[in-house]
Symmetry: C2
Subunit: 452 residues, 2 copies
């Protein structure tokens, strides 16, 4: 990155540097009879070698203009400096509508291109966000503030504690719903954490993100945000959910229970999917309709007094079983006084018999060991095969049909907020708290795969 210029290399970098054109500047490119006007974009990925300049046209699309000896470049307007507004609260008008607070934690939904590295970074202020989707003010009275500004991959259980406290305080203030803007990478973990950390919820907690940043024409920010505000303000349930695109088009969104949702695709808009259960609701943000398609566990009721139990134990490990898995890793976790271990085992809940003694050692030292399955779909059943029985005898706690990620969050929560007594941990881990286990896995819950 040192010798290049906003990702541009070679001759193009030289031309841009000489003209002192910066990314974000509005420029005109003349190429014989053709004229292109737009904002200079940084050069992405590994393609910087080609003699092409990328500009964003007024219609929002990017194009690449090939540079040859006839090409001339002029700056039409230097970019305006973006000064992120950090003014804490912005209030909109129509006071008869439900009150919804947007808590922003960072992530793509509030991202812009970072003009220094050419990559996407959280930047857009909450204020700009509301300007970005004026329809929100038809749905709710908005209160908005930034409580964190981190990439979701950097979020820790300490951050979950903070987010839970902020949500809890909003509930005490009597809001009708909370929207949490969150980076998508680790959003499902945080949504699961809130399902446990706030009990007896009076109103919904709606997590929302975007798979494409808000500066791009293909961004899903606006659609998702609108759907999230609708859900927060009107849904009849009071659960921690993720609201994101239901399919690639802007047709409907889905509200997924936080404890059952997983990011299943690196880039698609409909990356979030409920596993081993149905989504809770289908959202049509245009018609302002919410169709409930699963059993509600916690009903919306503003009379309810929320209970905050927001301590999460950071000394919990989530490890995966694979052929050649080395027993030393479990011993290491025990030596290092980890407080809990979740295994993403194989099939019905297995890991090699070679580690049974190490697991016994963990359990003897009062470290709960929970078994889940890397299959993701289906239920752990450790009584079918000898390996499972041996693990049960060693003291492993079966994770039922919980996602490995949810089991990890739940164990961290139990150890932090509830108890470290092994028997009590076992009892809590195997008890359904917020819909994290589905007692009835019907055949239709398995997706249809693209076979032929």
């Amino acid at each position: 990155m040192d010798s290049d210029y906003f990702g541009y290399k070679g001759r193009v970098a030289e031309i841009l540097r000489k003209k002192n054109v910066s990314v974000g500047d509005r420029i005109v490119i003349k190429k014989k009879e053709k004229v292109f006007e737009g904002v200079l974009m940084p050069r992405e990925k590994l393609y910087g070698d080609k003699p092409i300049i990328v500009i964003k046209l007024n219609n929002g699309y990017n194009i690449g203009v090939r540079v040859d000896e006839y090409t001339e470049i002029f700056i039409k307007q230097k970019r305006s400096t973006i000064t992120p507004s950090l003014k804490p609260r912005v209030r909109t008008q129509n006071l008869d509508l439900p009150k919804v607070t947007l808590l922003s934690t960072g992530g793509t939904i509030v991202s812009k291109v970072d003009y220094e590295t050419g990559a996407v970074r959280p930047a857009l202020s909450v204020e700009e966000l509301i300007e970005f989707i004026p329809e929100i003010s038809d749905i709710a009275v908005l209160d908005a503030r930034e409580i964190l500004n981190v990439f979701s991959e950097d979020i820790t259980p300490r951050d979950w504690e903070k987010i839970a406290r902020e949500i809890y305080e909003e509930m005490l203030e009597g809001v009708d719903g909370i929207v949490v803007a969150h980076g998508t990478d680790m959003m499902a973990y945080t949504a699961a954490a809130m399902a446990f950390a706030i009990r007896n919820k009076p109103v919904p907690i709606v997590f929302v993100g975007a798979q494409r940043s808000s500066d791009r024409p293909s961004s899903d920010s606006a659609f998702n945000l609108l759907s999230a505000f609708l859900t927060a303000s009107r849904a009849p349930f009071a659960e921690s959910v993720v609201v994101m695109h239901g399919e690639t088009g802007d047709t409907y969104a889905l509200a997924h229970r936080g404890v059952k949702v997983r990011k299943m695709h690196t880039s698609r808009r409909d990356a979030f999917q409920t596993i081993n259960d149905k989504p809770l609701a289908v959202i049509d943000p245009y018609e302002k309709k919410i169709k409930i398609v699963n059993k509600i566990i916690e009903e919306r009721n503003k009379q309810k007094e929320p209970v905050l139990e927001n301590k999460f134990d950071e000394k919990v490990a989530l490890i995966k079983a694979y052929p050649g898995f080395q027993i030393d890793i479990i011993h290491y976790l025990v030596d290092k006084k980890y407080h809990g271990i979740v295994i993403e085992g194989s099939g019905l809940g297995h890991i090699t018999n070679r580690v049974v003694d190490a697991i016994k050692r963990a359990v003897e030292e009062e470290i709960p060991v929970v078994m889940t399955s890397q299959c993701l779909f289906g239920r752990v059943d450790m009584y079918v095969y000898s390996t499972g029985r041996r693990l049960i005898e060693a003291g492993v706690i079966p994770g039922n049909d919980m996602l490995p990620e949810t089991a990890y969050v739940k164990l961290s929560w139990i150890l932090g907020s509830k108890t470290r007594n092994l028997d009590e941990v076992r009892a809590l881990m195997t008890t359904n708290t917020a819909g994290e286990m589905n007692p009835r896995l019907t055949i239709d819950l398995y997706p249809r795969w693209p076979h032929i």
Copy 2:
């Protein structure tokens, strides 16, 4: 398990113990005017408390008979002792048919109930297996032997080396196809390992297993084995594939490329699914038809000389990113001189920025670090966000659209069979070897989820 009797508890256990009835004995239960005859089954799971005796009827189904004060029990026939035949080779007759060798490694497809623990264990000999599905002799001349007898969760890279050598030797002997019976838990890993360990394959390697053991009426053993033999004997490709049920019914099987397949359900017959690609073929074992539905990478050609490259490095770790992931685990792997690390990152290929320095340290010590995504679907793209770029700068090798499991197997193979030079590892990891990367992820490759 101490006080119970084959899983039975309380009064029922007492009655069975007094009568000296063992699991596997043929018994008669008289209950007033009704008479039931069948083989005593062990009591499964947690239901042993109820006063019910489970017997397998002649039609293959199990029933539970409630025991009351009028119930009488007689032994009709003590169970015959099962003596597993370990005679190494069994040959069938029609010598004009293609020659297929069945290599058995253990697992459910060759399982029976373990009458000591009441659980399912590998037991049925290869000989019995062939008796079990006589139709196989219409498809191929069979050669069969047991090369391992382990649960698939206990299989190690050392076992992959042995399996590869056995397959290779069969290829040198000129067979037309190889079927490997394998426990389903870790079957996908082994199938991927064979894709790498034997290059220039003349004939297909077909992995097959069963989700229900062969002693049960609902077993998928026969259907899967028949499909596997058909594929091994006649498929036009010479790749390492998994052949299993395509849907829950006995309608068709699918041949999945080993490097792209994953066990996606703990118990369904159609648990195996291709991710980020289409299956290679649809198999109709009744009509003896194989329909190719994806591009073949290696064609069947018995003139090809196979190349064995079967060393796998056992000092490779597969670790998962999660909120609160502790940096010390990476330092531990470096301290312990691991030779390679595969990260199952989030989203487009991220892990918390807090571990970047630890990763730099690994790379400086010539330990390759490969990034994949826990989303499973989609492709890693580490140039979109700052975190990804920082990881790339730290030396992380992007895993493209490879499954985390396949990336793990491939890295273990490269380090064992090819090179430990970091630049060479990088070049090999990012080069398609056996279809483990799909350059074109089309929109139809994402499954359809059960929304409404």
